[in-house]
Symmetry: C2
Subunit: 138 residues, 2 copies
DNA sequence: ATATAAATGAAAAAGCTTCTCATTTACACC
DNA sequence: GGTGTAAATGAGAAGCTTTTTCATTTATAT
């Protein structure tokens, strides 16, 4: 991911944008909130305003560079877009997210949208529960 | 739904609670935000504070009388719990929600949670799109 | 170099939801 | 039927995430 991607998206190549991209690419967290990104930038020594982080992430979303996930009403998290659609398992205890892909479900969703006369634009599936790790460390 | 349900839930039978229940039962809207309920109460001549509406809805949720749906990060909507799990089709144009039940998807979700070692507590599936009606009135 | 449209930072504002705390009310008990 | 007490309520303040405003800075086309 580099300057070219930003130009293609009609976005000027600026330091905040490059740094946000860098954070998203290098963080161990695959899902980051705006706050997470903001803090990571600070740790990196970049004083980029939180408002800018929100703006940049929203623009990246518009450009298809990242996806925004809205976990259960609260705050949003962002993940780098890699072209592969996937759904999420959310651990209600440790808040970690695991991903999965299931073709059966994907197909059923398309069928249901069609049956109901919906022109499907997107979908989101979350399975909430307690992950293997948290079950042990009750 | 009546006083008994409130008592069973360990909640005192108060006017605000009875009225909120009444609104949820009689409104044509199956999904109502706290604000919707609040306004409906006002129209009904009941001056019940918004904070109380939130409190009551949250308690009802805890008591299993209503479910809370969090649509895409924004505000929450509540629906009377009727025991039947269902998923949602959300029209991104008119914000209306349709419901559906699909056993194939339900089963796959259970399987996936099991495969991943998750103890599933809940799940939510939203199909976003443009409903039949909004497609016509573009 | 320079003009200009876009981007940024900081603070304010917005929108939903929860909290605080003084006052009121439901209900168990006498 | 009174009465004490814990619970519920109302009104406003506060909390959180996110967006907006606007003056200043910056990227980029010329």
């Amino acid at each position: 991911m580099e300057s070219q991607d930003l130009r293609k998206a009609g976005l000027k190549v600026t330091l905040p944008r490059l740094k946000v991209l860098e954070i998203l690419e290098t963080s161990d967290l695959r899902h980051m909130s705006a706050e997470d990104v903001y803090k990571a930038l600070l740790e990196m020594g970049e004083e980029i305003g939180l408002a800018t982080v929100y703006r940049v992430l929203t623009q990246f979303e518009g450009a298809g560079l990242v996806s925004r996930l809205s976990i259960d009403g609260g705050h949003a998290v962002f993940e780098l877009e890699d072209g592969s659609h996937h759904d999420h398992l959310f651990c209600v205890r440790c808040n970690r997210i695991e991903e999965f892909i299931d073709d059966v479900i994907e197909q059923r969703q398309r069928d249901i949208a069609a049956e109901k006369g919906f022109e499907m634009t997107d979908h989101s599936l979350y399975i909430y529960g307690i992950c293997r790790h948290c079950q042990k460390t009750k």
